[in-house]
């Protein structure tokens, strides 16, 4: 008796007994289920307002985006009715960027912004959804995404629609997918870059978005691009795939040689950081996408699927060795069926290049501020926020966002500023700030005044007080300590004490995470911290592990060294002490990592002395509360959703097949007969593909599916042959017009086929 077993999706006809074999009883039960499916369709649309589609709300959204969101809304409705298991829906919603928070009943919505490139109307759309569905605050992440918090999941379909109208997606922002492709925000205007990586990074992002070969990873997958090897902006060496621009001369590639990339693989931070390994010192740009696709296939096939803590690609590269991994990838490249998408964009790369606002800024140049206070603020701001571009006469301006946050009103104001000064040239940075590019030098003062009016002209970007922090216990289920609380206090302390204005200290970086998982990138900071706890009798104190001597330079060249735990309440004092030690011991040109390396761990611990000790609760009760938290500290760590629970691809696809059957019924009901037939066929193909994934096959062409499914499942007696014939017949059918009766039969056949898919899978698992 398999029905109702642990692997059986909720909401299936749970009453029939597969032990009776194919027969009247079983068929009747499945048909009853089919009827139920149609009834469910009507009920869900009636009961779940988020599933209603109002056509006038789709203006501007691409058909594909619209389709994605319709599917999301339907699945959300089915989950709310208990028709989809929680774990399956969790991975599904993660793939739409909807992430569970530490607080019950609310979600974080991640908004994917490839390379952080934004247009003014997109800033306004993010402002609107942040204001209406979240806290009125948008948070820029270290992957150039936006996040908004405390979202009610019932609001998410409408939220997605509003973003889609301006070309913004949330697809694959979370989950076991290719996450946002990041790149240097200075690409195209940088003075040290080899060439502008923007078009190549964008092509990679959109090529892999929803790509069939990137749907069955055991863990998330991150790609970054950098225009040069020496700077920090791209952080290419801490990614699953890191691409660093190179030009090879004498290769027939024109005056400048052939554009391509150094490709690094198997890097990543996390609890244990891995530096990426050099896969190839030159991959021509036109060969980059098939290489990425092949790497994705190898990772999907051989990456760890059970133990999440070992499932990132860095572990696979480590296990196989670089040479072994490379051999498998090259073998895969040779097997890939040609895809026009690999190179179609290469010739058009130039069209992605940006430039100054056509016609120049919509506002006249202004003189620099003259009053003592304003002049001083302007000068400090210029020092940290304004840098000359490669193009003479233009500057790139960094808008400093404290903790990466910006209010809805500021976002709208920034959209206005962008329209007046730079047009579409706005980018988010991996340092959680925003960049305005192509600002004419003569307009810098006017821009400063416009930003100042919005409260966005703070100095200190990229400086000592520009502290990077993950969300920590503010919202993350994995958080141990309040990294944002500490970051806010520390940034204020560094500013108030003037440390950030000391030229020798100004470029020191401080980064912190609320747990060991490194979302705050503490491993690559001069001074890094990650959250932990320490018990003293009945009391528990928030503490941070101190990590010293990392470096983001040269694409994340060095990871820091753990120094031991320090009480959270002593962190500001420790930062002061470390600053003093650095000033005292640094030699010409030495950076923090050099001083740390020279002094050594024991010497530094000795210097920090009692600051590292946690006092007894009775002597210092304040040490047992966290920064900016009104309650005593308590340890509460839940399972994270960083990559979702690992749902076998077969279960994920079978659930998708259920949905397609459901949609086929909706089309039938609405008289859209051709669509009903197409959806019914798609459901059967998806179910067949689902079963084929258990044989390690990920197929996209339905002829391949038929060719593989017949011998492996039907001939092998694993799938009831009469139902399989429905699929084979449909695969061979023409697209001639269909009448209502035949469309109805198609939907019924699809229902039976998909149900048999579930049964076959249950049988395989028993």
């Amino acid at each position: 008796m398999l029905a109702g077993g642990p692997h059986r999706p909720v909401g299936k006809a749970a009453a029939f007994d597969v032990a009776t074999g194919p027969g009247v009883r079983r068929e009747a039960a499945i048909l009853a289920c089919a009827v139920d499916t149609q009834r469910r369709a009507r009920n869900i649309l009636a009961m779940a307002p988020e599933a209603r589609v109002d056509d006038d709300r789709w203006e501007g959204a691409s058909p594909e985006a619209r389709r994605d969101i319709e599917v999301y809304a339907i699945e959300l409705g089915r989950w709310r009715e208990g028709k989809i298991p929680d774990a399956v829906f969790t991975e599904f919603r993660l793939r739409h960027g909807v992430y569970g928070q530490r607080q019950d009943g609310v979600q974080m919505q991640r908004i994917k912004i490839p390379l952080g490139i934004l247009r003014p109307e997109q800033l306004e759309a993010v402002a609107d959804v942040a204001e209406e569905y979240a806290l009125g605050v948008a948070h820029v992440t270290t992957r150039q995404d936006f996040q908004i918090h405390f979202v009610d999941i019932r609001d998410t379909p409408e939220l997605h629609r509003r973003l889609a109208k301006v070309g913004v997606t949330t697809r694959e922002a979370c989950g076991n997918t290719v996450r946002n492709v990041t790149g240097c925000p200075l690409a195209g205007v940088c003075r040290t870059e080899t060439f502008d990586v923007t078009p190549y990074a964008r092509a990679t992002a959109y090529f892999l978005l929803k790509h069939p070969d990137a749907q069955s990873f055991g863990r998330k997958f991150k790609i970054a691009f950098s225009g040069c090897a020496g700077e920090a902006c791209g952080l290419a060496l801490m990614h699953d795939i890191g691409c660093v621009a190179r030009v090879r001369a004498g290769d027939g590639g024109g005056d400048g040689g052939t554009r391509g990339f150094e490709v690094w693989v198997g890097g990543g931070l996390g609890a244990i950081p891995y530096r990426a390994k050099l896969f190839s010192d030159f991959v021509p740009a036109g060969e980059l996408l098939p290489l990425c696709q092949a790497i994705a296939r190898v990772f999907a096939r051989l990456g760890e699927k059970k133990a999440r803590s070992k499932a990132r690609m860095k572990f696979l590269v480590d296990k196989l060795g670089l040479d072994g991994f490379r051999a498998l990838v090259l073998e895969e490249v040779a097997k890939l069926p040609p895809d026009e998408g690999w190179t179609a964009w290469v010739g058009d790369a130039d069209r992605f290049e940006d430039g100054p606002l056509g016609g120049g800024p919509r506002t006249p140049p202004e003189p620099e501020p003259a009053g003592a206070g304003d002049a001083q603020r302007f000068r400090l701001w210029c020092q940290t926020s304004v840098a000359p571009q490669r193009q003479p006469g233009f500057a790139v301006v960094t808008v400093f966002l404290p903790l990466g946050d910006i209010s809805a009103r500021q976002l709208r104001g920034l959209a206005d500023v962008a329209r007046r000064f730079v047009g579409d040239n706005v980018r988010l940075s991996v340092t959680q700030n925003m960049l305005l590019r192509w600002v004419p030098d003569a307009h810098v003062a006017a821009l400063w005044r416009a930003l100042d009016a919005l409260g966005l002209a703070g100095a200190g970007a990229h400086g000592f007080a520009d502290v990077t922090a993950c969300p920590g216990t503010d919202s993350c289920k994995l958080g141990i300590t309040s990294s944002r609380g500490l970051a806010a206090v520390l940034a204020e302390d560094v500013r108030a004490s003037g440390l950030d204005r000391d030229p020798a200290l100004a470029s020191l970086s401080v980064k912190m995470s609320g747990c060991p998982n490194s979302c705050g990138q503490h491993h690559i900071a001069d001074i890094g911290f990650f959250g932990s706890s320490l018990r003293r009798g009945a009391a528990v104190a928030p503490v941070f592990q101190l990590v010293l001597g990392g470096s983001a330079a040269a694409n994340a060249e060095a990871f820091g060294l753990g120094m031991g735990k320090v009480p959270a309440k002593n962190v500001p004092a420790i930062v002061h002490k470390l600053s003093a030690l650095y000033l005292q011991h640094r030699r010409d040109g030495e950076r923090m990592k050099d001083v740390v390396s020279r002094l050594g761990k024991q010497r530094l611990k000795d210097e920090l002395g009692s600051l590292m000790e946690l006092p007894e609760p009775a002597a210092a009760p304040d040490f047992f509360t966290d920064w900016r938290q009104p309650r005593p500290f308590h340890l509460k760590v839940e399972a994270g959703e960083c990559a979702g629970e690992l749902i076998p691809q077969v279960e994920f696809l079978l659930t998708a097949a259920d949905r397609q059957t459901f949609e086929a019924g909706l089309h039938l009901e609405a008289g859209r007969l051709d669509e009903a037939r197409a959806a019914a066929f798609a459901a059967m193909k998806t179910a067949a593909d689902a079963l084929l994934t258990t044989h390690g096959l990920n197929l996209s062409d339905h002829f391949d599916t038929v060719a593989e499914f017949r011998p492996r499942f039907v001939d092998a007696g694993l799938f009831y042959a009469p139902y399989a014939d429905y699929f084979f017949k449909a695969a061979a059918a023409t697209s001639a017009p269909i009448d209502a009766e035949h469309a109805h039969q198609c939907v019924e056949e699809a229902t039976l086929f998909v149900e048999e898919g579930h049964v076959a899978y249950s049988r395989m698992r028993s």
């Binding site: 405390f150 009103r409 500021q410 806010a488 309650r631």
Partner: protein, 204 residues
Amino acid sequence: MSAHAEALADLQKIAVKVPLSWPAGDAPRRAAVDAFIPILAAWRDEAPADYVDVADNAHLSSGLVVQLVGRRFTVGLDLDAPAGFAYLHKRGLEGTPAERVRAVMRAALTLAMRLLRDPACPPELAPAGDVLWVGVNDRVAFPVPEAAEALLADPFGALADLLYGAGAWRREREADPRARFGWWLRPVPPRIPPAPLDALLARL
């Protein structure tokens, strides 16, 4: 029923702002913001079924910098000028549009008074003049300011009549058409001194 009329019939996302006087200078201002965190945390702990958590964005100079996020409504301190106590309703309202608007204003004034009377609330904070804002936090249901004005004039006007007397008030809208639709309400003629919040509440 048109989409707009349907939206009005199910009006939920009503928002209110009670402007507050504010201490001068960055440090006192920051201290005042920080004082709200333990107050709102205590409200959360008193009614955990109603509230989700306190959100601390006090490092920002704009927007809702401290909020108590609730299941049916959220309250917080909004620094966008004029700074004040904000109440944002989300769901669960019943009755006619006018009844809903009135219920939200009543709840907002009640909680604003509770906040100002808390012993931990900085004494400098007080209602700033005889002005209130009422609006809708919903650009999907009310996408066009003119349409929103036509739909909401009756319930908002009824609220203003209750607060200030029939016709004895004036309204202003935000200059930025992208802002949420709403009215700033002021009595005509201005009252000196302004009516206290409990007096306004008593009229509802």
